[in-house]
């Protein structure tokens, strides 16, 4: 189960502070895009938008990206 958008790991993820080895190619590309955008515009408003985007990506790919979700959230995503 995907943790809520208020979970602190979401912010760490989009800000590039979470060093995770991803499995799915789409995740690797997606994370590169959002972390790049967070570097360019680190305002709270933009980070919230990127968390929204990240949540949407993993929600749509919850089954296929299960390994990546677990790598990010650990046991909390089970």
């Amino acid at each position: 189960m995907l943790p809520p958008k208020t979970h602190p790991k979401w912010k760490e993820l989009v800000c590039g502070k979470l060093k995770v080895s991803f499995t799915l190619l789409a995740t690797k590309f997606f994370i590169t895009r959002v972390t790049g955008r967070a570097k360019i515009d680190p305002t709270t408003e933009n980070i919230e938008r990127l968390i929204e985007e990240a949540y949407g990506f993993f929600k749509k790919n919850e089954k296929l990206a299960q390994k990546d979700i677990q790598a990010i959230f650990g046991q909390e995503s089970k």
Binding site: T27, F29, T32, G36
Partner: protein
């Protein structure tokens, strides 16, 4: 099923209602009847007997029964961002774009900024022509359902899948970043005079020439663990300009790749790690040429040799594949 087939064999498959993804010489594809197929031009393949250039056979991917819907549409340059909205909620999209067109360039430069582009599987390739015909003949794509051809627009298949099946797009890339200088750019683009090397502004052509770099090696970027190549097209000493086969992007660190001594062995080793039988796959014309792959197999890979590979974005010197997995 995937195989190199004669026109008559492809016709037979279409007559039985099979849905096909086809690649081949334009003259062969034009002999096919209308049906549930999309295609693009290339005379290069890796088939049962290894790498080959042929105008006598078509490469066919037969889509499995898990593909439950088959919608096709052309996209002009300005319509390209609409691909995302047309993607099936549960399935994959397969796109072929004619090489060296504005559609090709626009897709390459902008696709990564399309909203939600990574949410659904997008895979495909860039159509081309025989190397000796570049500039004389145009790469083309075709919608087999309507018989409509295009030498400018992209053809896209939006395929729905059974509920318990998901499409996963992956890449096989034997290149990794070398330990050398870091190259960055200020804008997206295929051609550059100025770039930054370790943060210092340089003329990129002069830098490459002074370093004596092997132009067959791509620049490699690390996308959160995925190695993404950008191949060098030309280094123009007079114009002091470097052209690439895919765009470089700002805020991305590029390094020249570590040389691959034996392409066949390297691709075979990496391809065998997939641990699944890809529904479709394609490899790059530059790997075919630089790796001297004529007559050679790379593991169980079979597919068209293409002028750019698409896995969400445009890639170079990369093998792209898609597998269907039970969820």
């Amino acid at each position: 099923m995937r195989a190199m087939l004669s026109v008559e064999e492809v016709k037979a498959l279409l007559n039985t209602g099979k849905r096909l993804l086809l690649s081949g010489d334009e003259d062969l594809l034009r002999q096919l009847p209308r049906g549930q197929w999309v295609g693009g031009t290339t005379p290069y393949f890796i088939g049962e007997k290894g790498g080959v250039m042929t105008r006598a056979k078509i490469f066919a991917n037969v889509l499995p029964p898990e593909v439950v819907s088959f919608e096709t549409r052309f996209y002009s340059e300005s319509q390209l961002p609409g691909i995302v909205a047309d993607e099936p909620c549960h399935g994959f999209s397969f796109v072929i774009i004619p090489a060296f067109t504005r559609t090709h360039q626009s897709f390459a430069e902008n696709v990564q900024s399309y909203p939600c582009i990574f949410d659904r599987p997008l895979v495909g390739w860039i159509a081309g022509v025989a190397l000796e015909e570049i500039g004389k003949r145009k790469a083309k794509v075709v919608d087999g359902q309507t018989g409509r051809w295009s030498d400018n627009n992209a053809i896209c298949l939006h395929a729905g899948l059974s509920e318990n099946i998901a499409a996963e797009v992956g890449i096989v890339n034997p290149f990794i970043q070398g330990a050398g200088d870091t190259i960055t750019v200020d804008r997206p683009g295929f051609r550059f005079r100025e770039a930054h090397v370790n943060g210092v502004s340089v003329n990129l052509a002069e830098y490459f020439l002074s370093q004596g770099i092997d132009h067959r090696l791509p620049l490699v970027a690390n996308y959160s663990g995925a190695m993404v190549n950008v191949s060098i097209k030309s280094i123009d000493q007079a114009a002091k300009r470097v052209a690439f086969y895919a765009p470089l992007f700002p805020h991305i660190d590029y390094r020249l790749a570590v040389p691959v001594e034996d392409y066949q062995a390297a691709f075979t080793r990496e391809f065998n790690k997939i641990c699944a039988d890809p529904t479709l796959s394609m490899n790059c014309i530059l790997n075919f040429i630089y790796g001297d792959l004529e007559g050679k197999r790379i593991g169980d890979f079979m597919g068209p040799i293409t002028f750019g590979e698409i896995a969400y974005g445009l890639l170079n010197q990369t093998l792209v594949y898609m597998v269907l997995r039970k969820t």
